[in-house]
Amino acid sequence: MSTKAAKLNPKRVGFDAIFFAISLLIFFFVMTSVVAQFSETFAFISKDWAALNMSSLFLGFGALVFLCAGLCLLFNSQGVATLGEYLFSNSSRKQEIAHQPFLKSFYGLHLLITFAGTFYLSAIATGASFYELTDPDGFAGAMNLFKGLINANFDLLPLAIIEVIETIFIAFLATVIAIPIAFVLSFLCAKNIMVHPVAFTFYATMRTLLNITRSVEPLIWAIIFSVWVGIGPFAGMLALLIHSIASLAKQYSEIVEGVSDGPIEGIRSTGANAVQTVWFAVVPQVVLPYIAFTIYRWDINVRMATIIGLVGGGGIGTLLIKYQGQGMWPEVGCIIIVIAAVVWLMDTSSAYIREALK
């Protein structure tokens, strides 16, 4: 079985080393937390590691990864298949490895134990406890609140409707302003359009920028903009706008990358220039999926606008946080019903329209 690995695949060794290091750490924490149930000293140790400084943490982890890389190579040389070897090796070796039953293989057991350990640690970190879930006092309190929600105070209905309309308007404005910007960006962010080396550099930069923009939550944008333009619906709209541009541009450009080349070649052969080619060969292919994604984005934006309202972005979210803060549960109940109705309505109608567009 000890077939000598022909070539050292850095991806495989890297994957194995990091996965091994993480699983060893998990194993260590599981052990200390189990022992800590019985001994105060260990409880102290398992809490204390977080106080270590950054550089020693990184150094420690790096050393561990190196150690694990060596360990994995040793395993591989003995013909023991590791997970990285299974995932990254060529198909003949893969079949050889897959031939042994999962549970009897080393990588199978390794995966299973790591999974179980992670589950155990997650439960501890979450503070999951049956005792608290079944606590009668807590349960009675929750029931009280729930009763208030069910006995919604519909006197608030007119105000809630006005506020939810504001939320829809915030979402609408953000979506509509985002469309033309994302439309132009989508072609500049499509690999099949930006083939020229200079264009490709621009493509890569834009893609990275959009990804960064998208990975910042709209909630954070809302906080930034509420400092900039003052708390209220305008800040909420700007936050959604930024997020919508980044999301739509990405989704649009993926559609552009999926268009068929035939019509492009057909139009180019007539002597059309680059702009004409995009307009006549690419745009007709992407219009319907664009509309579908845009409607879906508006739908998402309405829901997001509600959340953004919670940090002062205006609309129904702001109303909700106001009454919730005062513990006025019947009023909160009314607002929740309005939100649920609007979300349901938007969801169904946007799904219906998208279906009709196919």
């Binding site: 002597g271 059309a272 007709p284």
Partner: protein
């Protein structure tokens, strides 16, 4: 006819793709005005690459292409677009815009002669529209002018593609496997229209095919490619069994399309 000056001369043309595939290995031939030149060969023999080098959809690696007095391989920018305007092209998969009407597809042949802004607003002149209609009539499909292109059959779409290429007012028409995805009956209809364009409008035709029976019926001259090189050049009547085996490999049998 072929005593004139050639309209297109190709000298030592080579094309090597970025992935290292050598598609063309030094091709030389002349095309004379009014010819119906057919290029035959197996798939992968370099036929499609050759046609795409002629109108610069692909850039040749080395060699010369002289079309109408200009060096095709040297032109840049706007001049490439002007070159393409003068060389129409039709494709195996028609390459129409599915969501546009037949008429709109045909008028796209005018894009090379229309300013960018005007074309984005679809401001085609009445004259262009008239011209488009007349070419639709020529390929016998004017009744379908307002129908969406993707609702037509394959043969009809290829006729629309011919009309689109004709609205460019080309001197040469390139046809890359124009009937390869059509059934035998439709195949002849499309080939007959190409012949009509060739004889009635006097447009020089360079056509890739792989059915020898079609070649004998339509071509005035044949070039056979194998592995990126010319292995036969001459009259279609002279292709014997021995030539056929040389082009298509040992044991190949001729299939007749009726």
């Amino acid at each position: 006819m072929s005593s004139d000056k050639p309209i297109l001369s190709v000298r030592n043309l080579t094309k090597t793709y970025d992935n290292g595939v050598q598609a063309l290995k030094g091709i030389s031939f002349d095309v004379y005005p009014g010819e119906f030149l057919v290029i035959i060969g197996l798939s992968g023999s370099g036929k499609s690459t050759l046609l795409r080098c002629l109108n610069r959809l692909h850039d040749p690696t080395s060699g010369e292409i002289i079309f109408d007095g200009t060096h095709v391989e040297k032109v840049e920018g706007q001049k490439v677009l002007n070159l393409r305007k003068n060389i129409g092209m039709i494709f195996q998969h028609f390459n129409l815009i599915p969501r546009h009407s037949v008429l709109s597809n045909v008028m796209m042949g005018r894009l090379g002669s229309l300013g960018t802004l005007k074309s984005l607003l679809s401001l085609f002149s009445a004259e262009d529209k008239e011209k488009a209609m007349s070419y639709l009539k020529l390929v016998g499909i004017e009744a379908k002018a307002q129908i969406r292109a993707d609702q037509l059959s394959g043969g009809q779409q290829q006729r629309v593609a011919i009309a689109r290429a004709l609205t460019q007012n080309p001197k040469v028409l390139l046809a890359d496997e124009p009937v390869a995805s059509l059934d035998p009956a439709t195949c002849h209809v499309v080939m007959d229209y190409l012949k009509k364009v060739n004889t009635e409008l006097g447009i020089t035709m360079i056509c890739n095919l792989h059915f020898l029976s079609l070649v004998r019926q339509y071509a005035t001259r044949v070039i056979a490619l194998k592995g990126g090189e010319i292995v036969y050049q001459g009259s279609p009547e002279d292709i014997t069994e021995a030539w056929f085996e040389k082009i298509y490999g040992e044991g190949a049998k001729e299939v007749h399309v009726n």
